[in-house]
Subunit: 382 residues, 2 copies
Amino acid sequence: MNRMALVRHLCAHPGLSRSDLAEAVGLTKSTVSLLVRGLIEEGWLVEREVVTTGDLGRRPTPLFIDPARLLLLGVEIGIDAVRVVATSLTGELQACVISPHATEPTADSCIASLAAALLKVRSQFDANRRILGIGIGIPGSVDADRGVVQQAPNLGWHAVPFAALLRETLRDTPLTGVPLFVLNEAGAAALGEHEFNPGSNSNPLLYVSINQGLGAGVVVDGRLLTGSRHYAGEVGHMVLQHNGARCSCGRRGCAEALIAAPLMPYLPGNPGALEPDPQALNSAGRHLGMLLQNLATAYDPGCIVLGGAAMTVGDSFLQPALDVLKDYATAARLAPPTVRTSRFGAHAVGIGAAALARHRLTRPTPPLPASGGLSTDSKESA
Amino acid sequence: MNRMALVRHLCAHPGLSRSDLAEAVGLTKSTVSLLVRGLIEEGWLVEREVVTTGDLGRRPTPLFIDPARLLLLGVEIGIDAVRVVATSLTGELQACVISPHATEPTADSCIASLAAALLKVRSQFDANRRILGIGIGIPGSVDADRGVVQQAPNLGWHAVPFAALLRETLRDTPLTGVPLFVLNEAGAAALGEHEFNPGSNSNPLLYVSINQGLGAGVVVDGRLLTGSRHYAGEVGHMVLQHNGARCSCGRRGCAEALIAAPLMPYLPGNPGALEPDPQALNSAGRHLGMLLQNLATAYDPGCIVLGGAAMTVGDSFLQPALDVLKDYATAARLAPPTVRTSRFGAHAVGIGAAALARHRLTRPTPPLPASGGLSTDSKESA
């Protein structure tokens, strides 16, 4: 995996020279030069012109991830539609196809419609533009290693071998054999904010996704928290109110029931959206503030990123959340956590899913679950 | 760090042979044999007798962490006392000294009393028993890299350079120069449950500490979550009730105010403890259930371990918590998370602090904060 170690390093530190890279990854300069030549030929890396500054002589050539040749596909499986984007290796949006669901999507109908949308995006590029991988973000809990959707309550799915089904559907098409990666939608969006933001040092990075469902993705030291059963970050079912409103999960007082569900009638994008009810938006926002306080306490994130359809509601929802966070911080004489909305707006999950593909393709196989005193790090890079 | 990689591997997988180790860490068998010889001489490892089973011939000699020679010291800085333990490299308790605080302990008086207790424990062993390191668990947020206590509200400490002060106090004593490691008490206890439990594959492991303060430590893939400012796991300040009871931090409705504070008058160990009030214990227990539900949702732990002085209250406090967890699970038709009390009882923090010392001594320097797409793993083991 030495080649991909170079790519990973340049993702985080654009503009390094071959010598810089050699030092950073512990290889000889001649090995690095050889690997870099191959990576440039294949479209991963690009050299940029050196600005010569008079008498300092020729500077080492800076290397960058090539934003022009290779492509990633990213998919958001939404409750209402499938959204497919194509991005460059550095996350710039290159194409987008949205395919609304006709009715309640079964896994089969959804996969058929997804395959068609993927091929439509593929057809917008010359055949010689190579597609490295397809990432897919799904509103539910996903066993990413096996590509299986464990539970997607808002889609009514249970134990769907999504990657295997999609792989089969894409057989004998121009996308045959392209690697597939499936993840929870908030996890994918969190990876997008992390991977496609090289200047950032928000660690941990917490992404909170508010759609019909509510979930979070947490990236710590460059890796997504997954938990023991792929449920880490399912924070829509944190309880904010004892005996509160009934949640779709069956419990009472969950964040999802107090924040996401009450917003749904007011989303501008919804057909038949109601006039905003200031009190409902304020209450949902204040509960969001309480949730963010609790998440900040649990993970101590360097930055909290908010995304999802609920962002379209705007300040009448978000401002009360920020006010509550600030009130808690003031009471404890601390600075409130840093909160911002997603840099990729409505494409946060799709572009995040493209980032997921890059993340997985440029890394060694995922570490085994650690036990006892053994760090998996040494195994991974052994 | 190849030597310590072998030690780490044997911590997690006791009984491996030299060949097993060579394969596991990617070294030649002759290199491993050489390193193992040194580690045996120094007291880290021990060979055990092979049971010969007739015609199978001689089996490779199994290696173990030596439980008999080297020592670790672990410290709990409590609100009421300093507790020092000595343990073997595998976590067995070898000695214990408890030194109650005379009055409200300042950092200086506490460090003086700690130094005396450490030397008292040291004096219980022959001079030739080597002490590898001293771990210290503190009820507050700690910058572990610098050994600085950022905040310890229940001790009234702020920005105390604890490691530096203790190092100075131990100068020219039999403990001069022994490496010191400082951490939040719940984090230390979490490492204890992880490091000294080789059979476990609870990943993440969540330890919830309930004393006058309430906090958690989370071990993911063999590493403690620390957060962006060393505040990760400060879950005593998760808000469980809007406008609830005032917390010592200044906020309202924090877990600490609803769970830990109401228990304090009833702790059997407290001088002047009151007769248990079933309603108060039940209410605190039910709030603990709500907190554990939220923590299970945030981290998806393989196991939740409970510890701290509150455990002495017993089932009238713990059973309501388990009941609430079970009710939530039943409502969502899921299995409740696995919950148990600490294996080390009243020594959970002290033995955990000893584990902290082993954890830090057998690992490379902590990874740098990751940014962009670069995993720090490759750096660490490069």
